[in-house]
Amino acid sequence: MKLRAKAALAALAVLVATPAAQAADPVKIGMVLPLTGPTAGYGKDGKLGADMAAAEINAAGGILDGREIELVYEDEKGAPQDGVAAVQKLMTRERVQAIIAGMNSSITLAESAITKNRILHVNPAAQADAITAQGSPWLFQINNTASTNATIFHTYLTEQMAPKAIAVMGENTEFNKAVLENLREIVGESSVELAEIATYDGATTDFTSIITRLKSTGADMIYVIDAYPARTAQIWKQIRQQGGFPMEAHAVGTVQRSAIVPAEGAMEGVITADIFIAEGATGDMARFIDRFTEQNGVAPNKVSLVVYEAVKVVAGAMDKAGSADDYALISDTLRGNVWTTPRGALSFDDNGRAKAPYFYIHKVTGEDVGLLDTFEVE
């Protein structure tokens, strides 16, 4: 008993004696990604992008007069509680200087409650408008908001494709809610009818009946709102098996190779959109894709890109601001400058939302998406 108590005390002493960070240390950036659980694929893609960005920055001599970037990863496991735990651990234990966290909207919202007014937080991928609508001065978002993306895409769907009636199915998530709200608005201004909206739970195993029901409405367009690759593949296979719809669309920013490949051709011709496309890339983007492919043996996807950009932007802003922890200064620097990324010139508005110059309408072709149309964002 005595021995055990002593051992416990010794362990405690070790915990307490964790040394504080020193000035010459590398700049630590906390990376919160889903590394296990159902969305671990996104975490893996994001990590490749982040590692590449850090390697490039360090190879070029680091930031703030030679300090290196060190990425500290924590797993959010695809659950809000774990996301919060990861952020807290990174902030208080690892004493990171910035947090890059944001794949799923609900989890990002939970995380942003912790980071608000305490640390620089960059959300690379989550889209829900509520995240940047909170008025957190040190919160930034690399991806477009759901409403920005959806407005362009939904306008394209209703005006360019002009279906008579749209049937919608999507998982009951915050992302889905935001997209649906926008769809109702845009469709309401047009002559297009919303035939039916089916919202399913994440535990749903089969979609045949939902699709049967949607088909029975006579809608000529199906629009699927789902961000999980495996389920996306499954849904499109089942839509195909029931004969498909004359027009088929999938929500913005959620169609990756990881969904198209397991769909085994069932997604061919599906219309979607994103802020990134590999096809026809030129300039910085082409070079980014080449480097990434060479280093990792696989082509980058949107997730790899936005996480790469997040690391680059954070490092760039710290360097320019001349500080790694004056968040007001770094945030002003972020808003007051234009950042060069593979996508082109990126700037941030008062809400911390990034504006990228281009938006692409995609059509699934083979094992990837092909370019259908390019929009310039005003």
């Binding site: 405690l12 915990l15 307490v16 964790t18 590394l35 296990t36 671990a40 797993d75 496991k77 659950a79 809000p80 509680q81 919060v84 735990a85 807290q88 651990k89 902030m91 208080t92 234990r93 909207s105 609900s106 919202l109 939970a110 409650a113 912790i114 829900a128 509520a130 909170q134 009951n172 998530t173 915050e174 889905n176 809610k177 739970d201 535990a203």
Partner: protein, 336 residues
């Protein structure tokens, strides 16, 4: 008794419950909490985590009222935890009530809901009870996902002030001390319950419902009492998670949470009054210090759990007891 099919002991060994021992352990617990609180003073992350761990330990204790007390596996207990987390969140965000009022409402609601649920499910035992209670928590989760007052899939966040009286729970140290104090209070309550008539009735039921019936115990009523007792404790635990998570989402009612608490109780020892609390500490704090790839960590942790269960199906305390028995044998000089 020995089970004839394998020759293995049929009943699980139960820890001693001599009152002296219990009181001593309680004092030790208080000392440990104080030492830990001041010791961790410099590390807000660990303090926050320790606060959350106290809440989780309370949940494990609540689960153990069913597990160690009745011998049932309440897979759906996360429902009460969820009610406890949602109630203060809704009270603060929708009604402008203070956190404490929300916590109290949550505990009352949990107890009120536990009664009809118990009436529905407690006629069942064993796997039937476990899986049906799991199903009910699934229904609760779907409900939280589809309602507006619960914030739907997004959940509720942005709470005004998480405080108990003058104690501001957003300060890690305060959060830890308040949570630890509540944990100790729950331990004291459960300790007294165990020694009461009701506690002895539960013990009789656990050993065999037929035996209990022959002793004149109304088995169903005592089982119902156990559920109604444990539900508000689970709700209290859920409420205590808010300062740590800062958000409530439907995911709070995931069965994984109950499984975690079951693991904590089983690893710490279901027969010991403080076993689940010890298990909770092992379970939440230990993985933070395993510096491994997250998937390797899951693999290692799962294998450790399996190893413990293979070596000591009654939990870690069985190993301690075996070691203690061997020691005392050695001291006496006779072979074990």
């Amino acid at each position: 008794m020995t089970d004839i099919t394998t020759g293995a002991p049929a009943g699980r060994a139960r820890g001693g419950s001599a009152s002296l021992k219990g009181a001593g352990l309680l004092a030790l617990g208080i000392a440990a909490a104080l030492a830990a609180g001041f010791g961790l003073g410099g590390d807000p992350f660990l303090l926050n985590l320790a606060g959350y761990t106290c809440g989780f330990a309370i949940f494990a204790l609540s689960v153990n009222v069913m597990l160690g007390g009745l011998g049932e596996v309440p897979l759906g207990h996360c429902m009460f935890y969820g009610i406890g987390a949602y109630a203060p969140a809704m009270a603060m965000n929708h009604a402008g009530l203070p956190y404490e009022a929300g916590v109290a409402i949550g505990m009352v609601v949990a107890a009120l809901i536990a009664a009809p649920i118990g009436w529905l499910t407690l006629h069942l035992t064993g796997a039937y009870f476990s899986i049906v209670s799991w199903g009910l928590s699934g229904v609760a989760m779907v409900t939280a996902l589809n309602l507006d007052v619960t914030g739907g899939p997004l959940g509720l966040f942005g709470f005004s002030r998480l405080a108990v009286g003058p104690f501001d729970l957003s300060r890690p140290q305060t959060y830890f001390f308040v949570a630890a104090a509540i944990l100790l209070a729950v331990l004291v309550v459960l300790y007294h319950v165990r020694g009461s008539r009701f506690g002895r009735a539960m013990e009789a039921i656990r050993q065999g419902p037929h035996l209990a019936r022959s002793l004149g115990i109304d088995v169903f009523r005592e089982r119902l009492k156990a559920l109604v007792l444990s539900a508000p404790i689970a709700a209290l635990a859920g409420a205590l998670s808010l300062p740590y998570t800062q958000i409530v989402t439907p995911e709070v009612m995931s069965v994984l949470r109950t499984v975690d608490a079951l693991l904590a109780a089983l690893i710490g020892g279901v027969g010991l009054i403080f076993g689940p609390a010890v298990g909770a500490v092992i379970f939440t704090i230990l993985p933070q210090f395993l510096d491994l790839d997250p998937n390797v960590k899951v693999l290692v942790f799962s294998l450790l759990i399996i190893l413990v269960m293979v070596a000591a199906p009654g939990g870690l305390h069985q190993l301690w007891k075996a070691a203690a028995a061997r020691l005392s044998h050695a001291r006496k000089g006779d072979a074990p």
